[in-house]
Symmetry: D2
Amino acid sequence: MDKFRVAVLGATGLVGQKFISLLSGHRMFEPVYLTASERSIGKPYSKAVNWLLPEPIPSEVEENRLISNKELLERNDFDFAFTALPAEEAIEVERRLIDRGKIVFSNASNWRMDPLIPLLNPEVNADHILLLRKQNFGSGKVLKVPNCTSAILTLSLKPIYDAFGIRKVFVTTMQALSGAGIHGVPSMQIIDNLIPFIQGEEEKVESEPKKMLGRLENGEISHADFNIYATTTRVPVLYGHTESVVVELSQSGVSKEEIVRSLRSTSWNKISGLHLPTAPKEPIIVKEEDDRPQPRLDRGNGKGMAVTVGRIKLDGEGRLLRYVVLGDNIVRGAAGTGVLMAELYAEYLKRGELS
Amino acid sequence: MDKFRVAVLGATGLVGQKFISLLSGHRMFEPVYLTASERSIGKPYSKAVNWLLPEPIPSEVEENRLISNKELLERNDFDFAFTALPAEEAIEVERRLIDRGKIVFSNASNWRMDPLIPLLNPEVNADHILLLRKQNFGSGKVLKVPNCTSAILTLSLKPIYDAFGIRKVFVTTMQALSGAGIHGVPSMQIIDNLIPFIQGEEEKVESEPKKMLGRLENGEISHADFNIYATTTRVPVLYGHTESVVVELSQSGVSKEEIVRSLRSTSWNKISGLHLPTAPKEPIIVKEEDDRPQPRLDRGNGKGMAVTVGRIKLDGEGRLLRYVVLGDNIVRGAAGTGVLMAELYAEYLKRGELS
Amino acid sequence: MDKFRVAVLGATGLVGQKFISLLSGHRMFEPVYLTASERSIGKPYSKAVNWLLPEPIPSEVEENRLISNKELLERNDFDFAFTALPAEEAIEVERRLIDRGKIVFSNASNWRMDPLIPLLNPEVNADHILLLRKQNFGSGKVLKVPNCTSAILTLSLKPIYDAFGIRKVFVTTMQALSGAGIHGVPSMQIIDNLIPFIQGEEEKVESEPKKMLGRLENGEISHADFNIYATTTRVPVLYGHTESVVVELSQSGVSKEEIVRSLRSTSWNKISGLHLPTAPKEPIIVKEEDDRPQPRLDRGNGKGMAVTVGRIKLDGEGRLLRYVVLGDNIVRGAAGTGVLMAELYAEYLKRGELS
Amino acid sequence: MDKFRVAVLGATGLVGQKFISLLSGHRMFEPVYLTASERSIGKPYSKAVNWLLPEPIPSEVEENRLISNKELLERNDFDFAFTALPAEEAIEVERRLIDRGKIVFSNASNWRMDPLIPLLNPEVNADHILLLRKQNFGSGKVLKVPNCTSAILTLSLKPIYDAFGIRKVFVTTMQALSGAGIHGVPSMQIIDNLIPFIQGEEEKVESEPKKMLGRLENGEISHADFNIYATTTRVPVLYGHTESVVVELSQSGVSKEEIVRSLRSTSWNKISGLHLPTAPKEPIIVKEEDDRPQPRLDRGNGKGMAVTVGRIKLDGEGRLLRYVVLGDNIVRGAAGTGVLMAELYAEYLKRGELS
């Protein structure tokens, strides 16, 4: 199979780095264009980037010379665009990419709640990709990666929602520094400290999961019908968002064993038969140990694509469920889900299901 | 006024250090005996202690030679005992101190839920001290300092409970390392990490506040009638427990302004007229800034005796209240409350209300 | 005595905050003007500042409205200016302040090596203030606070230089994050990490101490005649620079006891009789414990104005001296030395020795 | 080729974990016995270990049941023993293993300076293995892994020593927490702090490199003839020791380019032709960027077996060389060098050069 030629926009940031890392040697995609901001343009990738990932820079992109988003818009010989741009910058660029017929897999937060745009966490709502049939923005298409915290949360909620129903969710997050980008959180503000606020985050966590858990009916998504109440905090952890979750179930009399069984089943997983290369074998790993999940020990599970659930407890009535879920905010929460979504798109395209 | 002669048990630990610091120069108390474990006995305090507090070791205790708990039990020339011992060690020692007629102000977790023992957070339930009238363990008395997380939480719940009633509380904590003592959490386990579990903590947080918020009637405490659901985690912060709290109020239609007003009022405060030396002027500080409270910036408020509340939000119905509260786990959560409680005891004693 | 009216330039930065803190309630100085950058102008200090110090904001400046440096230059009713500006900004502003007849105590790195400008670490070289007699830049005067690392190092070298002579110094530093300012070091780059490079720092450490240890002769300073070789690194510590020092002495046969005695003596201290308010009683504290000095435990010594020396070792010949020295980079290394220097200036002025 | 059957002693500690990780799937070795302390005996490895490495536990050892050292001594069906025990425990056990004819590759610090025991850093002194010909402790043999800091330092010194000669070395280290083991450094003592002392470390760093750089002549090692002066500190970094090194060369007039060339050459490398599986392609990586090496970014170079050198500077005379070197203390500094040494032993054995 010929590989899709892809561009990565915002390739020097943390999410961009992870895109590069995941696309390197990918059997379906070949990164050809990398974009960056003004001061990096023209430089080879390896010279311009402040590479922070533990794995080394893939050799095939080391010499790739960075171009501007503007220059990218003048090229035509690529198919897909992975964007890791700030929302305010993304709006304009993504619109133009779509106009030029590109398929855009976007991490930017703009348009995520647009009813015509699939907000995909593939295991959870792969079928929402069919919204693309109605998308008519131009000749291209756009699919959105959810907010990192929402992606991790929703993956853990999906099997519970399917099996028991959900009335209400309370979540307190302890989010990693990488979520704010390389320069986001000054060390003077976070060492021996935490910050109980992340700009714009609670609004996202309170809305996006309801769209993802919604049902596609007659080409429209009816959002899930429960409220989420989020308190989001920043803690001195490099990678891995931890979320303390309380779920009021629609049923009572639910046991811990039933919860564990539902989390470990595959029946809810909408891509379990597709063998997409970036899909983790087990998207949800349940840990029995009292002191798990922990960011440093569990963020790498499923190469960063699995979320890890622990501390499962139910109240006496079997209606109030509590657990802690953790996922890699850069992989499951951003670049990994972006790549998985592109694999899903390619699969649906091959099957001719998108038109 | 003659000072009460006091002993500090477990004087070299973190809570012990804070006791020493608070008692130094205190106008009512004079520390005369300091106890420590085997390997420190006989050494001057300043040589034996691994002093970690930012303030220097008070000069008057530098040369005080550490004795064993056993040796202390043979001395008679002291009145009060402040204990900062592990529960398993405390049980035996405290019983003997009581037998010898001492007044024990104890941080150890044993007996906290005993119906005859006051579990005091003075602003919240100073009147529970009257339980002592019924205490008949021996010639002495014992009063308990609540669990650190519970002390901080309950202080913030008290005005809300009084003004609006409480149906249910969910709390996720982010607790400081000092809560586990000097050697409690290895650095290899917590740097770039967090641990979503603290042995025995959730049980305490789910029970102690209900006793403290209970009503003293006919010499008995009827516990407050709502459930608390706690998830307790350890984060890489040195001092200061942060708690993300959801309260389902008994009423609806409550506004943020009403909540703030209740937190800032003094009507609920049971010691506001007493002028106890360690009582903070404002036991609850409300911060309007989005990104507060923060451990490093707010743990020192009221010299560690105030808790700081921020991020106050109510849902559309005005029934679900959310906020973040932070307090110094070593001061408000341990030694400071211990000293305040002793001041309260002395006041009641002076007034002749304890018998 | 009437207080000198003073301005603080760059009052919202970390060094500016410490200036405010030290000047508050000072018996000789009264802060009247505070300057900040564009976006803070017009705001009350307490609203504009991201206050990070453990002590609270002094109440007398809370409502002080920030002005621009430009606006300050139009005021005439102040005497002294404490500047905590970046060097590139300072050059212009300081020149104008001097032109307007102000006495400038400056933390900025420009002009530090100028032969007409005193680079003062008062205990070390108070007499260099007499350079001011020759200063003829305008009607004002300018005195420089040394680089933080150099201030700490030089204080420890001074008694040794006086007693034994110095041939060569090697120093490896482990510097605190606060040295780079509030936004200087991103947390993503320093947690679980260190950075073995600080822009421009080694050049300063290799030159400034030689000026400070130089001799004032005929109105000129002859620099100390030995080489310093510095490697400067950044470590995840909030406050307190630690320096591992090797000194090749001019003599051999020196014992550890002699070194300790010289460090603890006061004979070398050029301000020991002056009773300046900010001068620490003991500018050098020698710790005998193996594991000291430590930033968190020793940076507060002498209220941040003392340096702490430990790990003193001599080789078999008694010629190679090694030790570790630590000091608060914001107090001794910046604002504290600035205020001490102003106190020294006021003293010399009173005595009529400056002209 | 049949694999050597190997035992790992102290398999649950950090170094033990890395041994397990490196031996898993190794083409020459098969781990058959794993020992641990009392409370873990009988448990499957995966249940007993507090696995902290980023890579997952190798599946082939998950079910391996831990035995005691004593029990191991009763087994005969293994060839090699890798020991990661504390020195005081190792002395007895290693002696018995030797008596039973085992080949012991030991991380314990006992006997490292024994003239009959090779202290191997294979690239540096592979030929010292010939000391084994004279070893006559029993039917077995023992080879020692050097102290972590010394292994990293010596690797960087070797090409310089060969090319230019060395008169004197000063080194200040900034060592990772993992060097003290999982429970070695309490978080309360190291967050926002550093400790300028590591028990016993300086003595090792001042002696071991001189043995490793020594010459094997007539079956004896004549130690290198220069002094090392070490100051060793602990910093809040998880993995990776950083060392700031000053070398007084035997020659003057040396240029930076010559130093870089010598570090990058292979002529000094005593195992460069052997193709041992654990040997890194480039044992020394020279970084030109000002701000490297950094622990988090460079400890993984050469899979932890390479050291990274940066900040190379020479004084005006070309005689005083300064640089910073970093290596993974658990891989190059312990388990990796242990495995490499065993590979070297197997190679020499095959060639019949050991008797």
